[in-house]
Amino acid sequence: MIQVNGLTKDYGARRAIDNLTFDAEQGEIVGFLGPNGAGKTTTMRILTGYMPPTDGTAVVAGYDVVEESLEVRKRVGYLPETVPLYNDMTALEYLKFMASLRRIPNTEERAYETLEGVNLRDRADSYIGTFSKGMRQRVGLAQALIHRPEVLILDEPTIGLDPQQVVEMRNVIREIGKDRTVLLSTHILSEAQQICDRVLIINKGKIVTEDTPENLQSRLVGSQRVVLRVRGDSDGLTNKITKVKGVRTVESKSDGSVEFEFSAGEDARPQVAKAVVQAGYELLEMRPVGLSLEEIFLELTRENSAETKAS
């Protein structure tokens, strides 16, 4: 459904994306994960026919994005990050306008159907200008879905939504992704893990890695980190923990807590807890620290450079 080969885009002297190659099959939800400015939006804009690439090719729904741009645009639904809406139109008018541009025969019926799908049927005649952020996002999604596209491209679909709305949006996307191709971008790791079948991690215009969320998780979590807190002074605590078998590193933090790391294979937590209590400390808290996206990038880029050196 989406085949991208060597895609490159320069903005003047700045290279926004550099030699991207990936694909996405029908019925697959592919997550584009990366920090702001990584090139996610640029890639999506090329795939939707908004702008041509500097180099490389992209085939979406069987058509080349440069040579057969109009054919691609007919088959792609796109929700840009800015959620472009006309505030002076009602939700219904807006969707009817978009439906007519998409050559849908019965625009009104289709507009109502689509509004139903995003739970906005009862607000069909309200002006978009009066909508909350979450509702705007849903109207934007409705616009992307109005022509039942084969490929759906969503740029940061859950940004700015409250937790309840995020859950709703994710459910809607999962539903759509059952029989169509969805490419979505996010910079939230847990989101990518929850809804995507496959994750592409992109940084500085390059794909750093590509895998299923499960594999990614286990690849990254070669070691686990735990924060530990005791009542009162934690002096001398680091020495005690260092001696426990399986513990790799120990570090005392400025706020009085201690952070230690152990290999994923051998869980050192029971031993550490025992050692701490036996040493006479009152153990208050012990919790695992998840890897943040930044750490993943550090991890992955380190991994990559190590591989390059080895080969």
Partner: protein
């Protein structure tokens, strides 16, 4: 072709919920109405003393042509600049429509709105026709209206083209205003100071030589039509090119 109508219709409808469009319509009809009242009353005063001419519609259409370059920028400034500013251009440029369809659609939408205003001014010749005997020169009237429609179409096309160049409607307003003012007045000035074929060129570029001293006095020359259609083509070409360049940036 259908895409052009869809864009044009949306734009036309948009004018009817836009306060600015109502202001433009009101200002045109109010000023022309005041001028109309003035020429009627002065003509009737003069008639009392047994001299003076018959009031002519050409006076109204002359003032209308001036109002056009003052007010058209207000009608066109938002057309593409607003879409760029609000990001909705991304929606239109990823919809299955061609860039020129978008630009022509925007232009036609504004032209239909302007034609609505022009149609409303038909009230003045209708009144005038009942006041003067044996009625007004209908062929002259048609020529004047053809001129007004061509001015509207070419000014709006230039406005659309300039609006596509900017992502700030106020900048589009200022540049459109200056451009139309140049066409109406400035560009003809050098013709007064030079002679020969150079002067002819500047005279040709001057809008007044195609309206005030041509269509508005009842002569329709091919060169006038070529002039207005050239302006329309320049405007729409500029708009389409600007949209395309935006994609490549």
């Amino acid at each position: 072709m259908r895409n052009i109508w869809i864009i044009a219709k949306r734009e036309f409808d948009h004018y009817f919920i836009s306060p600015l469009a109502y202001v433009v319509g009101f200002v045109i009809l109010f000023i022309l109405g005041a001028i109309f009242a003035a020429i009627i009353s002065s003509a009737s005063q003069q008639a009392l003393y047994g001299y003076g001419g018959v009031p002519e519609f050409a006076t109204i259409s002359y003032w209308f042509s001036i109002l056009m370059w003052i007010l058209v920028p207000a009608l066109t400034m938002h057309l593409l600049a607003d879409e760029t500013r609000s990001g909705t251009i991304e929606l239109l440029l990823t919809a299955p429509i061609r860039d020129y369809e978008l630009v022509i659609g925007k232009w036609l939408g504004s032209l239909f709105f302007m034609l609505t205003i022009i149609a409303a001014t038909l009230i003045y010749p209708l009144i005038l026709n009942s006041l003067v005997s044996p009625g007004i020169d209908q062929k002259l009237l048609m020529s004047s209206y053809l001129g007004l429609i061509l001015i509207a179409a070419s000014f709006l096309a230039l406005g659309v083209g300039i609006s596509a160049l900017f992502n700030n409607p106020i900048a589009a307003l200022a540049v459109t205003f200056f451009t139309l003012f140049s066409i109406w007045l400035l560009i003809g000035i050098p013709a007064n100071f030079i002679t020969g074929s150079g002067a002819e060129v500047f005279k040709y570029l001057d809008l007044k030589s195609h309206f005030d001293s041509s269509l508005n006095i009842g002569t329709i020359n091919l060169s006038d039509l070529v002039y207005f259609f050239s302006l329309i083509a320049i405007g729409l070409f500029t708009g389409t090119t600007a949209v395309e360049i935006r994609r490549w940036r």
